[in-house]
């Protein structure tokens, strides 16, 4: 509240001073212009809190007839074009993921350029991200590290249980930002948390970085080199601006880097990191081939190893309570490890006793759609492509397709038909989006 009223006062002063300046004798032109700008700004946004509502309708615009159809289509077309960028064929992805989420808890997170503050927004999105991440990567584990007062702080230990992870960042007061961040300390801390992990899983660090400085005890390039050696992928979502070191951290470790422009973009950038990362052939950051191709003949498709997993026996809720391995508590429900018959509370997990990875088949299935994505549907552009015997309704929702071509945006079909390349069924645009974004499986192909 205090800060709010402060900014009001300052704006008010600005206003008055510009008036005063106007009455006074001519000042330097630049000065005046600046003052005018301040005035205009003050008019546009009399209160700080109003700004967050200002943008919501800017993006949607009515056409002449007052319909929102055009805007909606525009949005869909944009989504379609983005999906076209995704690789069509199945590629190797790391399904078993280990992620350390590094939260910036430095003083710069109290900045209000994102509402309500960078810190609160980050916490909110981090929670949503964690839920979504576990939903899409049920075999993954997340740990949380905070950057505060020049040190890295372990906020939550590596865990495969979303509730546990969410609980570790549920207390806002405990995470109150203070001091300066240290990228190096935080990365070292995250690296140490992951050093014992097996190599078949991915090791990732995701940093939500709001500061423009980092206060490191040593040479951060050394840290970067060790991360490259340990095959740790670093991705950063910056809230302020691009920093050279951040870009370098991401580029060299084959991670992603992005600077959030506004609240929505921040979320987009964050959620882009939810799907499992693709395994790249022979580290992209390596120098152009030819110079060291002879030295390091990395095969284009390195052989894959099998790993052992177990499907546990689930004990029903009504069974007689017994002690579990993980908490030593009397509990009815639980799962029995198929190898050593120990009782654990939750799957997926690594068995506390014999170390076997215990999963249930839905977990595997839920991870698999990343490996076998639905092929992008082709938009029907020409009259000829609509076969005479083609169904006149969407294969998904049986909505009737228009008979004649309508005008459409680039990348959209004038016939509103989108065809699956495998089963050659036509779908409407809504079903197209639904199939690719939600069910990850084409109803026409039946797989």
């Amino acid at each position: 509240m205090e800060v709010d009223s402060d900014s009001d006062i300052s704006l008010d002063l600005d206003h008055q001073s510009s008036k005063a300046k106007g009455k006074a004798k001519a000042k330097a032109a630049a000065d005046k212009k600046k003052a005018d700008k301040g005035k205009a700004k003050a008019k546009e946004q009399p209160y700080v809190w109003e700004a967050s509502f200002a943008r919501s309708w800017d993006t949607v615009q009515e056409d002449e007839a007052g319909s929102l159809q055009a805007s909606v289509e525009d949005l869909m077309a944009r989504g379609r074009r983005r999906r076209l960028l995704a690789p069509a064929s199945a590629i190797r992805r790391t399904i078993i993921r280990h992620l350390i989420l590094v939260l910036d808890l430095s003083a710069s997170m109290m900045d209000r350029d994102m509402r309500p503050t960078r810190f609160d927004l980050m916490l909110q999105y981090a929670r949503e991200f964690i839920s979504e991440w576990f939903d899409q990567n049920p075999l993954g584990q997340i740990g949380i590290v905070g950057m505060r007062a020049g040190l890295g702080e372990r906020v939550g230990a590596m865990s495969g249980n979303p509730q546990e992870v969410l609980k570790s960042i549920s207390d806002r007061v405990k995470l109150e930002p203070v001091g300066e961040p240290s990228l190096q300390n935080a990365i070292e801390m995250a690296r140490n948390n992951m050093s014992h992990l097996p190599t078949h899983s991915s090791r990732e660090i995701l940093i939500l970085f709001g500061s423009l400085t980092t206060c490191d005890p040593g040479n951060i390039h050394d840290t970067l080199d060790t991360c490259v050696q340990n095959k740790i992928r670093i991705s950063i979502v910056a809230l302020a601006a691009e920093m050279k070191i951040c870009r370098e951290l991401c580029d060299k470790t084959a991670g992603q880097f992005g600077v959030a422009m506004n609240e929505g973009h921040f979320k987009d950038l964050l959620f882009e990191l939810v799907p499992p990362p693709a395994q790249r052939a022979a580290a992209r950051s390596a120098r152009p081939s030819g110079t060291n191709a002879g030295l390091n003949p990395a095969p284009a498709n390195p052989a894959a190893d099998l790993m052992m997993m177990g499907f546990p026996t689930r004990l029903p809720d009504a069974s007689i309570p017994s002690l579990c391995v993980c908490h030593s508590e009397l509990k009815s429900q639980g799962f029995l490890c198929p190898r050593c018959l120990s009782k654990v509370c939750d799957v997926p997990t690594d068995c506390d006793v014999c170390g076997l990875m215990i999963v249930s088949s839905p977990h595997l299935a839920r991870s698999y759609h990343h490996l076998f994505p639905v092929k992008t549907f082709t938009a029907i552009m020409k009259d000829l492509d609509v076969a005479p015997d083609a169904a006149d309704a969407c294969h998904g929702c049986t909505r009737i397709f228009p008979e004649r071509a309508t005008n459409a945006k680039e990348g959209m079909s004038p016939f509103r038909r989108y065809r699956c390349p495998d089963c050659e069924n036509d779908f409407c645009s809504e079903c197209d989006v639904f199939i690719h974004d939600v069910i990850h499986c084409c109803p026409g192909c039946g797989k």
């Binding site: 690789p87 064929s89 199945a90 590629i91 190797r92 992805r93 020049g150 040190l151 372990r154 300066e180 240290s182 190096q184 300390n185 070292e188 801390m189 140490n192 948390n193 050093s195 014992h196 992990l197 097996p198 400085t213 980092t214 206060c215 490191d216 005890p217 040593g218 040479n219 390039h221 060790t226 580029d251 693709a278 395994q279 790249r280 052939a281 992209r284 284009a300 009504a318 069974s319 007689i320 309570p321 017994s322 002690l323 579990c324 391995v325 030593s328 009397l330 009815s332 029995l336 190898r339 050593c340 018959l341 120990s342 009782k343 506390d352 006793v353 014999c354 170390g355 039946g446 797989k447």
Partner: protein
Amino acid sequence: MTACTAKASCKKLPGLLELTDTHLQWTQDGKKAPSVRIAHSEAASLFCSKEGAPQTRLKIGLVGDDNGHNFTFSSPQPVAVAEREKFKKELTTIISRNRGAQDALPKPPLPVAAARSLSVTAVPTPGTSTPRPTATPLQASHSRASSVVDDRRPTPVITGTDPATEFRLRKKVLMANPELGTLHRDLVMSGQITEADFWDGREHLILAQLASEGQKKGKPGQLVDPRPETVEGGEIKIRITPQLVHDIFDEYPIVATAYSENVPNKLSEEQFWKRYFQSKLFNAHRASIRSSAAQHVVKEDPIFDKYLEKDDDELEPRRQRSEQVDVFVDLAMTFEDHGDTGNDKDITMQAGRQKAALPLIRKFNEHSERLLNSALGDLPPSKRQRTDEGEGSYTQIDLDDLHDPEASDGIILEMQDRQRYFNAVMSKEAEAVKQHDPAVVLADTKSKLQSTESKLTQLKIERKAGDAALIAMTTNVANRLDGKSRKNDIPDGLFRQMTTCQTAANEFLRQFWLAMYPPPSELQTVATATKAQRLAKQAKMIGYIAKTPEKVHALIQAAQQHGIDAIRVQNALKPILEASERALTVYRNKKPGQ
């Protein structure tokens, strides 16, 4: 270097007692080599004779040997006492240091092992940067030499630091996880499992602890700029903390010089700072050029004005840079480019056009340099430049942003017979669908439905099946309710015994499975136990595991004595019994050579 010496007798033989940097040693008179030599880290306790006793004695106890050595100071009484006090003081600090290290293990279960690992530290641990530098060469050779019978490996020094730190770290980990601490007390201190085995597979806990402790704060990048706060009465107050003093001395060496020359001879500490903050010197050090506001406060000061330097606003900075400026950032490099072509000289980026800004710019530059130096440490200047191989002039002007973003599709996922996974189910379904002709199916269904109404009225459901289902469900719900309502009727003491028994059994099982299937990642990085050791460990653990049913049985009997439903206790411990059974079966069916 010898810290202190004294004439002292040991076992009634006269000699010389010496305390050096590393050892306490005693040499018999007339001999050259010391006959008693105690490393500092071995000293565990110290006893002295009473003040005023006829003989001045000092007894030192060793780690794992409480008898230790007795020394009698043989100099005349007052001298001997003074000498002993000196030794006492030195040794007390050494012992307290050792104690601090040993508190990690209030009672080291394996003094021999501890001593061994102590000797190991003398060997420089190579490759501390590798993720798990568990075994030093010496240890490795030792573990290879050890036979099947002796599977007690010396406690590995996981972190690559000295054992003292290692013990401290372990202690912290155990304190932070009370459950682990209890387990440690139950198993390791009772000697059932060795310290090394206990931490086997738990190294990451220690590494994580080390990581969080080993963090150092970086030097903050802010300029030292003490902010005066105004207190009532118009006075200005600056709070001086030791940190601030340190920062000021670090930032402005001239103040440090002034301090050392004037305090405390000419000025008291308080006066010094008071006058400094009012002096021109302080004003020159402020991180702003707009210091005119404070101008009236500034007084002439004969002492501090001596140290005033001229403003650093000449064309050339006062402190010349020694190293060569990179051609790509040297503005002067383009200076000559313009004359020949007739272009104007590029003066847009000329430094020092605004003279007042120059000292500030240079101050910032110096500050940045100091900051970078503190981060880089004491590297020689030649190593500071990052010389990536093949980085020539070309790569420097090759901007990343001008490159097309490289689209790499990743490794294609190749699954053998991928179609097969879907076909099996698909084809059956497809056949089933094909067999039906929609028209026939429709007609068929219609005809079937016609008589439904009359049939419905005649419908009678067999009671038996429904009843059975209902009863099954009711018992199910009752069971669940039962389980929920009677959760806590086992007395605390017994329950604790149960959990203790269970966690201990679990630890044995964990050790067993770890020995059976060592995690694959360890194979490359750590010189883990050899095959023989693993076999020995398996056998040992199986021995413990086989005893689990006995223990459980004892617990059940205890429950009966307490008057509690013994079946509940039995049920609660059932998974652990089954797990033990499984381990025993696996062990029995194991191929001999495995």
